[in-house]
Point group: none
Chain length 228, copies 4
DNA sequence: GATGAATGAGGTTTCATTCAT
DNA sequence: AATGAATGAAACCTCATTCAT
C-alpha cells in the first residue's frame, strides 16, 4: 500500500523497531476491537496486548478513533490482498477453461477459495466491526470495505466479460453477474456460520460453492440450446 | 395558583399504563442503540428519548444488557412479522400464477416487498447491531435472527416445493433454492445501500428484485427444454 | 410469636394490626441494620424482611433516620429490660448472701447472667451499630446506651452500697465499684467473642464471671484481716 | 552512584512522590471514614481531602473496600506503635520499682499513658470503625485489632510475670491479670468519653488510671498476708 | 391505610487522554 | 522515544423518597 520511504532508513538507527511496534499496536488493536467491540474496547487492554505502555499507543496513533481507523484499514488491506490473489489466480487458470466442465470446476474452485477468505475469522471480525461502527465511522465504507469488494467484483466482472465474449457465458451485464455470483457465495454463509461465530467446515464451504456455481451456470452458462 | 386540570387526563405526558411505558422504553432503546451502538449508547440518553427517568428504565428492564436484549427481540419480532406477512401474501397470490409471466411477476413482487422489509432503516439497524454484538450476546442469534430468517426461508421453501410439484419450478432442494433466492435479493443490497446507511430508491430495489428473479428463474424456472 | 388477630376482620377499630405491623417493621429494620450497617442497609430490603411494601415503612416511621432511631431504641429497651431483670434478681437474692462464699456465688451468678445479656447476638449488634453511628446519631448515646448502662450500674451501685453498709463489701465509692465490676465482666469479652462475631460458650462466660468476681472481691470484699 | 532512574523497579524503589501521595490518601481516607462511617463516606470526599483526583485513589488502592482495609491497617499500626512504646517504657522503668509505692506509681503512669493512647481521637475512631464494620470486614479483627491488643497484653503479661517472680505481684495467670488490668483501664472510659465522642480531661484519665491501679493492686499486689 | 410505579440525586468505578521523567 | 502517574468526564446502577391508585 503505502510504500513511504522511511526517513530514517539511511542511518544506523532502528526505524524497523518503530515500524514493528506500530504493527504490533495495530494488530493488537484489531484483536481487541474484534473481541470486545469499539466502544467496549479500552486502550489499556490494547496496549497490554501489544506489549507497550499506554502513552506509546497515543504517540503512534493519536487517539482511539484514529487507532480504530488504522487498525481497520490494515485489516481490510490484508483481507483484500487475499481475495485479490484468489481472483488473480482465476485470471491465470480460468483462461484455459475451454469446456463446460472445466469452467464449472474453475468457478467452483474460485468460489471456494473466496469463501475461505471471507470465512476467515479475521474477515468476519472485520465485517462485524464495519457493520457495528459504520454509523460512527462512515468513511470506513470506502477505505475498508467499498474499495475492496468493488475491486474484487470488478476483477470478477472483467473475467465474466471475457468469458462472455468467448461464448462461455451469457450475460449482458457482467457487473451484475459478478454481484450475483458473490451473493450466491456469501449469502448462504451468513446463516451457516452463524454470522461468523462458528467455523464452517471445508465440506460445507465446498457445498455452498458448488451450489452457487451450479445455479450461476444454469442462469448464465452455456445453455442446452447452445450445446445442442 | 390556578385550577390546573388533572395531569393525567389532559396534557402531554399522560401515563396510560405500564405497558405503554415499557414499549416506549424499548422503542427508545432500539433507536439509541441503533444510532450509537451498544457500547456507546448510554442509558441516560435512552431514558430521555423515552421520556422517562433513568431509574424507570432499570425498574422495567433490569440492566443495560437486558434492555438491549429485549429491545433487539422486540425489533426482531416486528421485522419478522412484516416479512412473514409478505410471504403469506405470496401464498395467497402465488397460487394463481399459472403461466411463466405470472410466476415471474409474482416472484418479483414478493422479492421487491421482501427487499422493502429488509431495507427498512430499522431492519438495517437491527442487522448492524446483531453483527456488532453477536460476540457479546450470542443468544440473540437464535432469539432475534435465527428463528426469523429460518421461518421466512422455510415459508418460501414450502412455496417453492408446491410450485415444483405443480411443474412451475425445478428444484430438488427447495430449502437451498429459498436460500439462494434470498441471497440474490439481499446480497446486492449490502453494497447498494452502503450497509444500510443510504436509502435505496424503489427503482433500484425493483431492479435488484427483477435481476434476482430473472437469474433465479433461469436456474430454477421452466427451462427451454419445457418450452421446446 | 404474633398473636394472630386478623387485622382485616377485627371490625371497626383494629389498632392491633397496625401496631403489629409497626413492630414487624422495627424488628426487620434492626435485623437488617445489624446485618449491613446503617449506610449500606436499604429500605427496600427492610420492607421485604418485614413483609410490607416500601411506602408502608415511610407511612409508619417517616424516613430512614427515624426508622433507625426507633429500631435502635426498641432494641435498646429490650436489652435494658433483660439486664434490669438480672439486677432485680440480685436485689432479691443477694440480700440473703450473708457469708463470703454466698456473696461470691451470688455475684458470680449475677455477673454470668449479665454477660449472657450483653453477649446476646442482638446486644452485640446494638453495640456495634451504636459505635458505628454515634457520630451521625449522637442522641442515641442517651436514648439507647446511656440511660441503659447508667441504670444498670446505678442499680448495682445501690446494691454495693447496701452491702458495704452491711460490712460485706469495702468501697467508699459504690458507683466506681460498679463501674469496675462491669469493666471486669465485659472487658475480657470483647476479645474472647471477637467483638461479638463469635459465640462464646457458657463455660467461658462462667470463667470470665468467676475471674471478675474473684478479682473484684479481692479488691472490695471482706479481706483476710477481717475474716481473721 | 545514583541508581535513581530505574523505572522498572516498583515498590521498594518507588519515587518519593508516589509514597507521599499514598500516605496522604490513606490518611484522608481514615479521616473521612472516621467522620462519616464506611457506608456514608464517599470516595470523592476522600480524594478531595487528600488533594488528589478521584481516579488517583483507585490507581493506588484499587477500590473502596481495599482503601478501607489499608486505611484501617495503617491507623491500627500507628496506634499499636504508640501503645507498644508505652509498654516498652514500662519494661525499662518498671524494673526499678522496688517498693509498693513505686510499683503503684509506675503502674499508674503506664495506665495513664495507655489511656492517653486509647483515648486519642483516632484510636476511638479506629475502634468505632472496627465495631461498625467487623461484619463486612472480619479479617480486620486480626490485621488491625487482634494482633495489636494481643501484643500489648502479652507484653504486659510478661511484665506481670516478672513482677510476680520478684514477689511484687501475686497472680497465677499473668495473661488474665493483664486482661483485667486493661479492662479496668479502658472499660470505664467508654461511658466517660461517651464512646469517644467527648474528650476526656487528663485529670479524669488520671483518676481512672489511679482507680484501676488501686483495684488491681488490691487484688494482685503484695497483700497484708505478706506484710504480716 | 397499603401499594406499584416513578423519580432526582448521588455512589462507585472506568476510560481516554495528558504530564513529567 | 517510551513510560508511570495523574486527571476530568462520564458511565452504570442504586437509593431514599413521593405520587396516584
Amino acid at each position: 500500500m503505502s510504500e513511504v520511504s522511511s526517513p530514517q532508513t539511511a542511518g544506523a538507527g532502528a526505524p524497523r523497531g518503530r515500524i514493528d511496534k506500530r504493527h504490533a499496536i495495530l494488530g493488537a488493536a484489531f484483536t481487541v476491537f474484534a473481541r470486545e467491540g469499539y466502544g467496549q474496547a479500552c486502550v489499556r487492554v490494547i496496549a497490554a496486548e501489544a506489549g507497550v505502555a499506554k502513552p506509546t499507543v497515543y504517540n503512534h496513533l493519536g487517539d482511539k478513533e484514529n487507532l480504530f481507523r488504522h487498525a481497520m484499514e490494515a485489516a481490510g488491506a490484508r483481507a483484500l490482498t487475499a481475495s485479490l490473489a484468489v481472483v488473480a489466480e482465476l485470471r491465470a487458470e480460468g483462461a484455459t477453461a475451454d469446456d463446460a466442465a472445466a469452467l464449472s470446476a474453475t468457478l467452483e474452485d474460485v468460489g471456494y477459495r473466496l469463501l475461505l477468505c471471507s470465512c476467515d475469522e479475521r474477515s468476519w471480525a472485520l465485517r462485524r466491526l464495519l457493520y457495528a461502527e459504520v454509523g460512527k465511522f462512515p468513511e470506513l465504507l470506502d477505505s475498508v470495505w467499498g474499495h475492496g469488494t468493488h475491486r474484487v467484483q470488478e476483477a470478477l466482472a472483467d473475467r465474466f466479460a471475457r468469458l462472455t465474449l468467448a461464448g462461455r457465458l451469457h450475460t449482458a451485464d457482467p457487473a451484475q453477474a459478478a454481484e450475483q455470483f458473490f451473493a450466491l457465495l456469501t449469502g448462504p454463509m451468513e446463516a451457516r456460520s452463524r454470522l461468523g461465530t462458528r467455523p464452517v467446515s471445508d465440506a460445507e464451504a465446498r457445498e455452498v460453492a458448488r451450489a452457487a456455481v451450479r445455479t450461476f451456470l444454469r442462469a448464465f452458462g452455456p445453455g442446452p440450446d447452445e450445446t445442442a
